[in-house]
Amino acid sequence: MSDADSTDDTPPMEAVRYDDGTITYPGHPVGPDGGDPIESIDLSEYTAEVLTWTTNTAPPPGVREPNTLAIVEFTVDGEWVRAIGQVDGDVSIGQTVQPVYVDELRDPEPSVRARDSQDWDGYRFEPVSE
């Protein structure tokens, strides 16, 4: 599926496929079973299933409160790949969600991590209406 709001400027939700077929999000120089990275996959083009979720009421500085988070599982060409991220809306185990781009997931200023050491945009998960 494609996100109606996405434009060509929207960065991909980039997972990496290795030469043994495994896929991880994020990518690593070496795959989980030792494979070499061979291609990028944009997970924002797929839906995922919620494996588990939580709502954190004591988030660190610069993070929305409360902060609902989920671990979700995508299936890409028969291979599973999981991701973690913030959730908008009510969520439950087994629910289908879609990634939606957000330009700032967290305000980096009050955090302990150097702003330029990483990116702060990314994808939240939203329930897909049946």
């Binding site: 994020p26 009421t57 660190p60 990483q118």
Partner: protein, 385 residues
């Protein structure tokens, strides 16, 4: 290879302390050397287990500072950082130093000073161990606990009350530990009605933020009797690492690095789970005690919640007393100190010095977890022959 003895152990009061990191480390280190009757000049290697004194306090170089403060110059020093598992990693480092012959006397001091920071700030310092794709979403260690607990309870049809049983037990044990941050029993009802922190986990499912320090003194077993009538031996120790990115683990409810480190520690010791009489587990969150019981081989997958419910892990009358010290849950969790303090408790249990907390034990186990299982050390301790 030389067998490694522990001939001294001490810990400071855990809790909200006015002392800063250098003072906390010196308090535990000095007490350990003095009680063992060992001159600071005899220390060849000095290890300091500490996660983040630079980030929390702006004090770096803590191991060199401690050598000076203790009068242990010119001992070789090293700071050991394995996040929350720094203490256990320090035990492994101290063991290696003696077993290899590089040191004839090694002092290990673990400590952390945290309570001068707000809960949100301290949470962020700890969360800085996460991968960028986790950190930008505001993932914290308590969030991982909430995610994992929901998955565990759902998958194994375990009651929420079983997690409260873990917290209630460890608080009950902490009542008899004068060094614990909390020395107060808490009912399951209070735990189950406490504020939600990371749904389904509530306030009492989490350890507090703590200042404190603990120390252990190591030497070759061949000379241990020159210093102590009774001592403990490190029968086995090992460490292991799991994925940095938590959601990449094939089974979110299985702690692979706990299992791997336990295998190594048990293999070295010649003991197995059935031989262990007392265990200190890393109950930073209640769910972690259950997951460690399973990965250490004390319970089958998906069944450890029953042990907590049935009293199997109770101090009084339980088959395997777990966290007789009160655990991180009630004793407190000064990050770098916790793994060392686990072994201090097992040392006292094995030598019969645990007072009202005493259980019958010849073999004890410590499991120290960093990150959300990212790095783990397990050690098996026994009474010296």
């Amino acid at each position: 290879m030389e067998r490694v003895a522990i001939i001294g152990a001490s810990m400071t009061q855990f809790g909200n302390r006015s002392a800063w990191i250098r003072e906390l480390l010196a308090e535990a280190g000095h007490s350990c050397l003095t009680s063992a009757g060992v001159d600071p000049n005899a220390v060849d290697h000095l290890y300091v287990s500490n996660m983040a004194a630079g980030e929390f306090e702006g004090q770096t170089g803590v191991s060199n500072a401690l050598a000076h403060d203790l009068g242990a110059l010119p001992a070789y020093t090293e700071r050991v950082d394995q996040t929350s598992a720094s203490g256990g990693a320090g035990i492994y480092a101290a063991w290696r130093s003696i077993a290899s012959g590089a040191s004839d006397m090694t002092l290990l001091v673990g400590g952390e000073k945290m309570t001068h920071r707000s809960t949100a700030e301290a949470t962020d310092v700890i969360a800085s161990l996460t991968h960028p794709v986790e950190y930008k979403h505001g993932l914290t260690l308590p969030s991982f606990a909430g995610l994992t607990a929901r998955r565990y309870l759902d998958r194994y049809d375990a009651p929420r009350e079983s997690l409260a049983s873990v917290a209630a037990k460890n608080h009950r044990n902490g009542v008899d530990n004068p060094k614990a941050q909390f020395q107060k029993a808490v009912s399951k009802e209070t735990i189950l009605e406490s504020p939600i922190v990371a749904d389904p986990l509530r306030l009492y499912d989490f350890c507090p933020i703590t200042d404190g320090s603990a120390a252990l003194l190591f030497c070759p077993e061949s000379v241990a009797r020159e210093y102590a009538d009774e001592y403990v031996v490190v029968a086995g120790v090992d460490g292991a690492t799991d994925t940095h990115v938590v959601h990449e683990r094939p089974d979110p409810t299985w702690m692979g690095a706990v299992a791997e480190s336990a295998r190594g520690a048990f293999d070295m010791s010649g003991y197995g789970p059935d031989d262990v009489d007392v265990a200190e587990l890393h109950d930073m969150f209640t769910i972690l005690e259950l997951l460690q019981l399973e990965a250490l081989g004390f319970a089958d997958r998906g069944t450890a919640w029953q042990l907590a419910e049935e009293g199997y892990t109770d101090r009084d009358g339980g088959e395997l007393p777990v966290n007789t010290s009160g655990g991180l849950k009630s004793k407190g969790h000064p990050l770098g100190a916790s793994g060392v303090a686990q072994a201090v408790e097992v040392y006292e249990q094995l030598l019969g010095d645990a007072g009202p907390r005493q259980v019958s034990a010849d073999v004890g186990l410590c499991c120290n977890v960093g990150g959300f299982g990212n790095c783990v050390t397990t050690s098996v301790l026994e009474v010296g022959a």
